[in-house]
Amino acid sequence: MEVVDIRPVLAPTLSLVCAGLIFLTGQKAFWRRFWSLGAAVLKLAVVMSMLPGTINGTVYVFRLMDFTPGIGLGFRVDALGMFFAVVSSTLWIFTTIYAIGYMEPEHSKVRFFGFFALCVSTTVGIAFAENLLTLFLFYESLTIVTYPLVIHEETPEAFKAGRKYLTYTLIGGAFVLIGTVLTYQTAGTLTLSKPGILSLANGTQTLTILFVTLIAGFGVKAAIMPLHGWLPTAMAAPTPVSALLHAVAVVKAGAFGVLRVIYNVFGVELLQQLNLTMWLAWLAAFTILTASFIALFQDNFKRRLAYSTISQLSYIILGASLLTPMAATAAIAHIANQAFAKITMFFVAGAIQRKTGKTNIHELAGIGYRMPYTMGAFTVAALSFVGVPLFAGFVTKWYLSLGALEAGDWWFVLVMIASALLNAAYFLPIVYLAYFKAPPGTQLHVDEARPTLLIPIIMCALYVILLGTTAEVPGMPFSLARAAVRFVFGM
Amino acid sequence: MKKALVAALLILAAIPLLLAVSELPPHGSASNATYTHVSAYYLEHGAEEAGAENIITDVILNYRGFDTNGEVTVIFTALAAVLAVLLLGDASTATEDKPSHSVSVVVSFIVRLLAPFIAMFAVYVIINGHISPGGGFQGGTILGALAIVLTLVLGEDEARRLLPERPKPWLQAAAPLTFIGIGLAGLTDTGFYLGFPTAEALSWIRTMWLLAIEIGIGVGGAAIIASIFWTMEAER
């Protein structure tokens, strides 16, 4: 059931307006914070108000205007988009609170918070895009508005990282554009409202080229190896930005794009006939293992997290490319599961850096006594990644394995297990180091980071547990994922 | 080396050019498209329709008058361009090192003697353009040349008096302004810009308008040529 509703436009517009207000009045700390938080809360309210409807199968659409003759700038809220929007707008609140605390001593705060708001505006735009052109529009805008955040430090390394980031993502954007043009040329439409707009009649060769082009385009932001090079370098940015890049916006935009391509542009049925996704699945599996392996040898805390992100993102890609309902559920759900766990970890890394100035893992010995709540949250996230039941990550792994078996590709289960072991191998030593390797003379009294940093950390960790325990409760995000899967597979 | 290369390239370029012109309709034949299409109409109707016995004048000022309107704008552009390129902030620096003219008495005398006749000839060329070879441009050029000769002989200050400061900009703009004036008159009269009255009885008006344009072009052309020369002279 489709309902014309203004709210899909309202959500990105709200943050856009607030970004404008931040630029105008942001010289004063109060207004900067007021608009940032106000926008976050308002937007979450708007998104959440559509949630019940979406779970029951209502699709909210709003066609803003014809962008070019025939192709409109349109918004459309379906289950998949809603899922992404809920995750990103929930996380935005936490990230905003965290950023307010974290950025206190930094320069150019107006610019930072302005572009921060813009960034989330474009992310919601991506989630609610009605057609591939609108999606591309926001995807490309996201690149531009994150650039000032990446080079925020204005150091030579930051510029280098920014250059690398732009080079990768703009080339990716160019591929997306070409893919969009080619899609329009072959299918005659760009709408994402159906489970697949292409058909076998378009010719296998064209379809193959198109698939590779689009996946390569979105794959850059989704950091599929070998397109991942920008992500570890972009660590030069301040921590809230890393959190944003890794959990909320950028990488998820890429993964979300891949999901859209597989489910809405090609459609599961067509891809099964074409037999195109197998190499993608293998590439994803390769990325999962290789990135985990590289992560083992990183001593810089944020770099280790970065490689972990690369590895985790490919879960989504793998789930999507297996083309079974179970795997698809896992892929969609992992958008949230990975986001909450990874953002917790980045927040922890940032809090430790702000509090103690330590950025390398070997320096963290004994930190668990000084910052017990922070490290507790980290432990929760780590266990989630390892895939311990009751934590969010377990849900993904479970469904993904079921999906692999459903598809008859049991060796992917082995990949799951290997990945869980690798995750354990690079996260648990940190926990161990923090609690059990305290060098003599360690500060034993509690000295936590300030509340604006600590509260988001604890909230996110709680969410990780919540997502892991309530997967089957109706009305929770997981049921959205199921709704999306029902639509995609025509069930 | 460079020159030889250029020459070789140009000789190479000559081949297609020569091939193409050899395929053009034969030179001088009366059955060419150039002769049978538009120009046949002009030759047949020009004299009674357009107001001048000289068909070329008809074409320039009437049939294709708008081209000439543009053309007089081009010379005005040239004047504006020369002034915009050559005028300087303070005029004093330019005049310092100018060599003084020394012209022999004989030359000076003969030029003075001839000047009125040259001017008269120019006027003749201008106002007879519609029945004989000649016209505004030709006459204007002769007038302009006269101004140049007089400058060389009498010196600049003397010659500049030919073109007083007050009407100077008006005279320089005379040609386009006349054209626009006649064009607008035609617009009110016939409903077409640069339209000339078509009625048989009004042929004298046609001729008068042509004459007005010729004079405008002649005066404007002369003023511009003289001004350009003086500006360059001041900068020399």
Partner: protein, 117 residues
């Protein structure tokens, strides 16, 4: 081809003149000589277009008493009158520029000017 070229000798001559002018524009270093090359090219094209209007045995297209057909084609002549004016205007501007360049740089040789840059 040679035969056709012989008939159209006027056109061929214009083409050759045009290329000679182009040679001067490209190969000469002196700015004034360059510009004279441009004037040669202009003349070549005027000659070409006027030649298009020639009719064997044609008379000046001036009507009135004593006029007898055939007349030459009036259009090319009219066009070229415009063309000449345009050429004169371009020449005036080019010479002004050369004057300025000479005053500022003391030379109008293209190679010397290039060294000064």
């Amino acid at each position: 081809m040679i035969e056709a070229l012989w008939v159209n000798l006027d056109y061929a001559a214009s083409v050759v003149l045009f290329l000679i002018g182009l040679y001067a524009v490209i190969a000469k270093d002196n700015l004034i000589k360059k510009f004279m090359g441009l004037n040669i090219m202009e003349t070549a094209i005027f000659a070409f277009i006027v030649a298009l209007g020639v009719v064997d045995g044609g008379d000046a297209p001036i009507m009135g008493e004593g006029a007898r057909a055939p007349f030459t084609n009036p259009i090319p002549q009219a066009l070229i009158l415009t063309g000449i004016v345009v050429a004169v205007s371009t020449t005036a501007l080019a010479l002004s520029l050369i004057i300025r360049i000479y005053r500022q740089c003391g030379t109008i040789e293209a190679d010397e000017l290039r060294e000064m840059e």
